[in-house]
């Protein structure tokens, strides 16, 4: 009996990215199935953030394709011009399906926490405002900052801001969630509260791509681990495979440096 092939949530094929003469990503291919939690590890400069940012086209690759649930971004990738997206409508549509949580939170500082949560659902997805507010309240409750609904981002701690940012991402009903070093800018005491929220999301079966330095998360929560070095994928497998039998010497060194 054959199983009908599942459409990958995110499919990256033969991705290349250059900044001028510097090549940051070499021939990267990666598939994320729905429900997978993929941790992307690597030293700084390895290209991991660039890879993630190619998924929602905050960076446009110079070669290769990116598809969200089978739909590939329409790109113009000529050698002498900077690569660009050609279909803006499609770009906005696909971006709304794969929301991002940033290292520096990037909450909109002139809006309250609640207003931050409903801003994109109301103005990008054109959903009913009252319904969005109700949902936002529930999400804030869920990440544990319901009492901060009318506060401005400047009044929140780092951990609270990041939890608000995660709630903001959830408010879009995303099919995929992208996390770009979500805990790197936090004081150590505040990291745990954010990781807890992310663990709960993973347990729900969300598709998550997480660029992180948190070994614990990579080892215990993710379903797959990918290790990048200087723009090449050197490891790609389940945590069990990758952590107990690393094929790459560099990955061995990497783990030992970050293991507490």
């Amino acid at each position: 009996m054959t199983v009908a092939p599942c459409i990958a949530a995110v499919e990256i094929a033969r991705l290349e990215k250059c900044y001028g003469p510097l090549k940051v990503l070499h021939d990267i291919s990666l598939k994320a199935q729905p429900g997978e939690v993929i941790s992307i590890l690597g030293a700084s400069g390895s290209g991991k953030s660039t890879l993630l940012r190619c998924v929602n086209m905050l960076e446009v690759p110079n070669a290769g394709t990116v598809s969200i649930f089978g739909e590939a971004y329409k790109l113009e990738q000529s050698p002498d011009q900077p690569a660009r997206v050609t279909d803006r409508r499609q770009l906005q549509r696909l971006r709304a399906q794969a929301t991002m949580v940033f290292q520096s939170f990037n909450l909109w500082s002139h809006l309250t926490v609640l207003e931050n949560l409903i801003e994109a659902p109301v103005h990008v997805q054109n959903r009913n405002r009252k319904a969005c507010i109700a949902e936002a309240e529930a999400l804030l409750e869920r990440v544990g900052i319901a009492d901060k609904r009318n506060a401005y981002p400047a009044h929140l701690s780092g951990g609270q801001q990041q939890r608000a940012a995660i709630a903001r991402a959830l408010a879009m009903h995303p099919k995929i969630m992208l996390f770009d070093e979500p805990t790197s800018a936090l004081d150590p005491e505040l990291v745990a509260e954010v990781l807890k929220v992310m663990r709960d999301l993973a347990a729900e079966g969300r598709t998550m791509l997480v660029v992180t330095h948190e070994m614990g998360f990579a080892r215990n929560v993710s379903s797959r681990v990918v290790f990048l070095h200087k723009g090449y994928i050197e490891e790609d497998g389940t945590p069990a495979e990758v952590f107990s039998n690393p094929r790459s010497e560099r990955f061995r060194q990497f783990i030992s440096k970050y293991a507490h």
Binding site: N56, L58, R95, A96, T99, F105, N106, T112, A120, Y152
Partner: protein
């Protein structure tokens, strides 16, 4: 020279006050029209299009590099050199010192304001713009909901400076027969030969105007910055 001639000071002050409405009108017209033009210029400069950027830069360079008096005289005296203009529909306006002064002030302040607006827009934190894009916001929505509110708050201090400068610049209208505060002052001086007292009165009026404007804008800035100030809890301690 008796500086304590209160009755003279009083009369002078009242006479000068008659010029305030004109000063304020010229200020208001030139600031609002100048702001519109400045927004266009800033948009050209931020467009990323080289020729448009160069056009805006050229305009700004010319209007910031020449004295306002030259610009005013070119419009008021200079344009009459061209018979084509004298016959055109715009002539009834261009013949009047009121409109010439307004036009010159508008064109002048637009050049300075354009740089202020541009400064405000590029000061909006990049991360927040990126987040808006990542959430699928289109250019227009991004501009309207994220960039504009923050840019306006960021440019207020510089803009209030510019407003004060425009108020002072309205004094130049007196050189083309307009009787705003400085015009009346000049006439009074030439009649009474008591420049010090008249200067004191006129100066006081301008200082009062500037003071009021600064206070008003500071209030607006405070209202727009609720999100930045530290929270003070009911108990009086800071959050």
């Amino acid at each position: 020279m008796n500086l304590l001639d209160v009755s003279f000071l009083g009369e002078t002050f009242l006479a000068l006050c008659r010029g305030i409405p004109l000063t304020l009108q010229l200020t208001a017209i030139s600031i609002t029209s100048g702001a519109l033009l400045a927004t266009l210029l800033a948009a050209l400069r931020l467009s990323g299009n080289r020729p448009l950027d160069a056009l805006a830069r050229g305009y700004i360079f010319v209007f910031r590099g020449t004295p306002l008096l030259v610009q005013l005289y070119i419009i008021y005296y200079g344009l009459s050199q061209f018979p084509e203009l004298r016959r055109s529909f715009a002539w009834p306006f261009l013949r009047e010192p009121y409109w010439c002064a307004s036009l010159a002030l508008c064109l002048n302040t637009a050049a300075y304001s354009a740089e202020i607006i541009r400064g405000g827009v590029i000061s909006v934190p990049l991360g927040q713009i990126e987040a808006a894009k990542a959430y699928g916001m289109g250019q227009l929505t991004l501009l309207r909901r994220i960039i504009a509110p923050q840019a306006i708050r960021l440019m207020l201090p510089a803009y209030s400076n510019e407003l004060i400068l425009v108020v002072k610049s309205t004094a130049l209208a007196s050189t083309i027969t307009m009787m705003e505060v400085t015009g009346i002052a000049a006439k009074l001086i030439s009649v009474s030969y008591r420049p010090v007292e008249i200067f004191i009165c006129a100066g006081a009026i301008y200082l009062l105007l500037n003071f009021s404007i600064t206070r008003l804008l500071r209030l607006v800035e405070r209202r727009l910055s609720r999100d930045q100030r530290p929270l003070v809890l009911a108990t009086g301690e800071q959050a």
